[in-house]
C-alpha cells in the first residue's frame, strides 16, 4: 500500500520503487523465517482447531457450531466480551489520546523519556499488574482507605472483581498499544501546518478540532482496532479481576477445554472469535482506506 502511494506521486508503477538489490528471490528469503514461524505457531494450530471443531465423536459434523448457536451462555459471554473490549478500548483511546498529543509536542529528548514511562507497565507481567490493581483498587485497597480517611460518604467503592475492575485493568494494559499508533500519526503532521493555522488566527481549540483531530483520525482508528482486538482475546485480566458474571470468551474456551473437556466446542468458539475479528479488521480497513 505504501509502495502504491509512492508510485502515485512519482508517476511510476509501484513496484519500480523496489530497489534492484531486493529482487523477488531476496524478498522470499527475507520473508521465509517470518512465514515459517507464523505457519508453525499460528496457522497450524488454527487449522487443528478448525479440524477439531468440525470433527465430533462420529466424524465430520457442524454440531459444535449448532450447539454454540443455541447456547445462551455463549451469546451472553460473547456480548459481554464485546462490551468489555469496547469499553476498555474507548477508555484507553480517551486516556491515550491526550497522552500521545502531549508526547508529540515535547522535544525528542523528553519524548524518549515519556515513551519509556509508557512502556514500563507494558514490560511488566500482567499477573503482577493485576495484583497491583487489587492492592490499589480492592475493597481494602489504597484508594478506598484514602477515601475513608477523607470521609468520602459513598465508600467503599467496588472497583475490583466486577466489570469495572476488568475495564480499568484492560484499558491500562492496552494504553501503550494505543499511544504508539496515535503518536506516529501525530508526528507525521507537518508542524508548519499548525504554525500556519496559528498565524491565520486559529485558537488552540480551533486548531485541535479543525486540524489535529481530523488529521489523526486514521491513527486513532488503527489504535482503537488494536485495542479492541486485544480486548476480545483478553484472558488473564478477566480471570483475576473480573466477577463471576464477567466471563470472557477466552475464559469460556479455557473452561470448555479443561473443565468439560469438550474440545470441539472450545475449538468452535475459538474459530468463531477468530472469524469475527478477521471480519472486523477487514471492515475497518475498508472504512479507513485513504481516499485519492
Amino acid at each position: 500500500m505504501l509502495l502504491a502511494r509512492e508510485g502515485g506521486t512519482g508517476g511510476l508503477p509501484g513496484l519500480a520503487f523496489v530497489p534492484r538489490r531486493y529482487r523477488p528471490t531476496a524478498i522470499a528469503g527475507l520473508l521465509t523465517p517470518g512465514i515459517a514461524v507464523m505457519t508453525v505457531g499460528f496457522l497450524t494450530p488454527l487449522a487443528i482447531a478448525l479440524w477439531t471443531s468440525l470433527h465430533g465423536a462420529g466424524g465430520w459434523s457442524i454440531d459444535a457450531y449448532m450447539a454454540l448457536a443455541g447456547s445462551t451462555l455463549f451469546w451472553r459471554v460473547m456480548s459481554g466480551t464485546f462490551q468489555i473490549a469496547l469499553l476498555s478500548s474507548i477508555a484507553a483511546l480517551l486516556l491515550g489520546y491526550p497522552l500521545a498529543l502531549h508526547m508529540s509536542q515535547r522535544s525528542p529528548k523528553v519524548r524518549r523519556v515519556l515513551m519509556m514511562l509508557v512502556l514500563i507497565p507494558f514490560w511488566t507481567s500482567i499477573l503482577v499488574k493485576s495484583y497491583a490493581f487489587i492492592v490499589l483498587f480492592g475493597r481494602e485497597g489504597l484508594l478506598n482507605q484514602a477515601l475513608r480517611a477523607w470521609y468520602f460518604p459513598f465508600g467503599p467503592l467496588d472497583l475490583m472483581f466486577n466489570r469495572t475492575g476488568v475495564g480499568i485493568a484492560m484499558a491500562h494494559q492496552v494504553i501503550p498499544f494505543v499511544v504508539f499508533p496515535l503518536l506516529t500519526s501525530m508526528l507525521q503532521v507537518d508542524r508548519n501546518v499548525y504554525r500556519a493555522a496559528e498565524i491565520m488566527g486559529a485558537s488552540p481549540y480551533t486548531i485541535f478540532w479543525r486540524v489535529t483531530l481530523p488529521l489523526t483520525l486514521p491513527g486513532a482508528a488503527a489504535a482503537f482496532l488494536i485495542a479492541f482486538t486485544l480486548g476480545l482475546g483478553a484472558y488473564i485480566t478477566p480471570a483475576l479481576l473480573g466477577g463471576r458474571r464477567d466471563l470472557m470468551i477466552a475464559n469460556l474456551i479455557d473452561f470448555r477445554l479443561r473443565e468439560t473437556l469438550d474440545w470441539p466446542a472450545a475449538s468452535a468458539i475459538a474459530i468463531t472469535l477468530t472469524g469475527l475479528v478477521c471480519a472486523l479488521i477487514a471492515l475497518a480497513r475498508r472504512v479507513s482506506r485513504p481516499q485519492h
Binding site: D190, V193, R195, A196, E198, I199, G201, R210
Partner: protein
C-alpha cells in the same frame, strides 16, 4: 481589492535580539520597514534570517527588544492576534481539506458568513489562477500549484503584512522565475508590506525594494539591490551577491595621481576620496565589467593574463584568467563579444574603466 494598494503596515525592529540558552542566534537588529515595502532578508543558512521572520510572525519570542507594527507594539502579542499572513517553503497546506476549504480556513476562523467566504475564496483563486482546481486535495497538485494555493490562503484575509519563508525554495528554476513575477505583481496590486526570506541572491535582487543582508546572526548591510551590488560595504556582501573579483590593494601616490595598486604593480583604478596614501583596501571588480581588449583597443586599466578556464552558459561566457601575479580574475560577458573565441591557454589583454572599481570601506576590525 485593488483599493488596498498602499495599505501596508510599517514594521519596526527596535533592538530585537534572540539568544538560545547562552548562544546568540540574532544580534540586536534595529530596522524600519516602510509601509508597502518589499524587504528581503538574504543570507546563508544559519544567518538568522528565518529567526527574524519568525519573530515577526510571533512563532519565536525575542530575548530582548521591541517589535512594532505601525503604532502598535506587538512584541508580546500571540501569533494568532497579529493578523499577518505567512507563506511557507513546504506550503503547509492542510492535507485533509480541499483547495477551497484550505483557503476558506482563515475566513472561517474569523466567523465570516458562508456567502462571503464563497465570494472571497473565488476572488483569490482567480487572482492566483487556480479557480478550476478548487475541489482538489493538496496532494493532487504540483508544487507550484500548491504554493499558489498557499499564497491565496494567505491573501484571502487581506493581511497588511505578508511574510514569506523561502516560498520558492522547493520549486524548479523556471517555475521559480514565473512565481517571482507573480508575487511581485500581487505585491504591487495589493500593497501589503512584504518581508521575504531567501538565500537566493538573484531572487532577492529582482524582487526587493531593499535587501537586508545577514550573516552569522547579524545584519551586514541594508540597501537597495543596486546599491548592495555595486557599493557593498564588506567583502562578504561583495562575495554573496553575484560574482566578485576581490583584490587586496594599496593606495599609491604617483605624479599627483592617487590610485589603487594590486599585487604585481597592477593598476586597479582610482583611489577613493579621502584615503591616506599607503593605506590598504579591498577593491571590488565585477566580472561583467571586465572586457577583452582587441589589439587596437585600450582601457583606463589594463592587464595581461592567460585563460585558465572557459565556461559557456549560452548567452554568457565566463573566463577565468590568471594574471602574471598569480591571481585569478573572472570575466563574464555576452558570448560573441570576443569571449567565445578564447580558448584555454590563450593570452589575452583585458581592461576595465575606472568607474568599474569599488574600494570597500576599511574594516573596523
Amino acid at each position: 481589492m485593488a483599493d488596498r494598494a498602499g495599505s501596508g503596515t510599517p514594521i519596526s525592529f527596535r533592538g530585537i535580539e534572540k539568544r538560545f540558552g547562552g548562544v546568540s542566534a540574532l544580534s540586536p537588529v534595529t530596522l524600519d520597514i516602510e509601509p508597502g515595502e518589499f524587504l528581503t532578508l538574504l543570507g546563508p543558512s544559519g544567518s538568522g534570517k528565518t529567526t527574524l521572520l519568525n519573530i515577526v510572525a510571533g512563532l519565536v519570542e525575542p530575548s530582548a527588544g521591541q517589535l512594532w507594527f505601525g503604532e502598535q507594539e506587538v512584541t508580546d502579542l500571540p501569533a494568532r492576534e497579529r493578523g499577518v499572513g505567512m507563506v511557507f517553503q513546504n506550503y503547509a497546506l492542510m492535507p485533509h481539506l480541499s483547495v477551497f476549504e484550505n483557503i476558506a480556513f482563515p475566513l472561517r476562523v474569523r466567523k465570516i458568513s458562508r456567502a462571503d467566504i464563497a465570494v472571497r475564496v473565488k476572488e483569490v483563486l482567480q487572482l492566483v489562477g487556480m479557480l478550476s482546481l478548487a475541489d482538489r486535495r493538496p496532494r493532487q497538485l504540483s508544487g507550484g500549484q500548491q504554493q499558489r494555493v498557499s499564497i491565496a490562503r494567505c491573501l484571502v484575509y487581506k493581511p497588511s503584512i505578508v511574510l514569506m519563508d523561502e516560498p520558492l525554495g522547493a520549486l524548479d528554476k523556471k517555475l521559480r522565475m514565473q512565481l517571482q513575477l507573480e508575487i511581485k505583481r500581487l505585491h504591487e496590486q495589493l500593497g501589503f508590506t512584504a518581508l521575504y526570506v531567501t538565500h537566493d541572491q538573484d531572487e532577492a535582487m529582482s524582487m526587493s525594494d531593499r535587501i537586508c543582508l545577514m550573516d552569522g546572526g547579524r545584519t551586514v548591510q541594508i540597501s537597495e539591490p543596486t546599491e548592495l551590488y555595486f557599493r557593498p560595504q564588506s567583502s562578504f556582501a561583495a562575495g554573496f551577491l553575484g560574482e566578485a573579483n576581490l583584490f587586496e590593494a594599496t593606495l599609491v601616490q604617483q605624479n599627483g595621481h592617487a590610485f589603487l595598486e594590486g599585487a604585481g604593480g597592477l593598476r586597479l583604478g582610482p583611489a577613493p576620496e579621502g584615503a591616506r596614501p599607503g593605506s590598504r583596501r579591498t577593491a571590488l571588480l565585477r566580472p561583467e565589467n571586465v572586457r577583452v581588449l582587441a589589439t587596437d583597443e585600450s582601457a583606463e586599466n589594463e592587464a595581461i593574463g592567460q585563460v585558465s578556464e572557459v565556461a559557456f552558459f549560452g548567452g554568457d561566457t565566463r573566463l577565468t584568467v590568471t594574471l602574471p601575479s598569480g591571481m585569478s580574475l573572472v570575466i563574464r560577458g555576452s558570448t560573441g563579444h570576443g569571449l567565445v573565441k578564447s580558448g584555454r591557454g590563450e593570452t589575452l589583454r583585458i581592461g576595465w574603466c575606472d568607474s568599474a572599481v569599488t574600494a570597500l570601506p576599511e574594516q573596523s576590525a
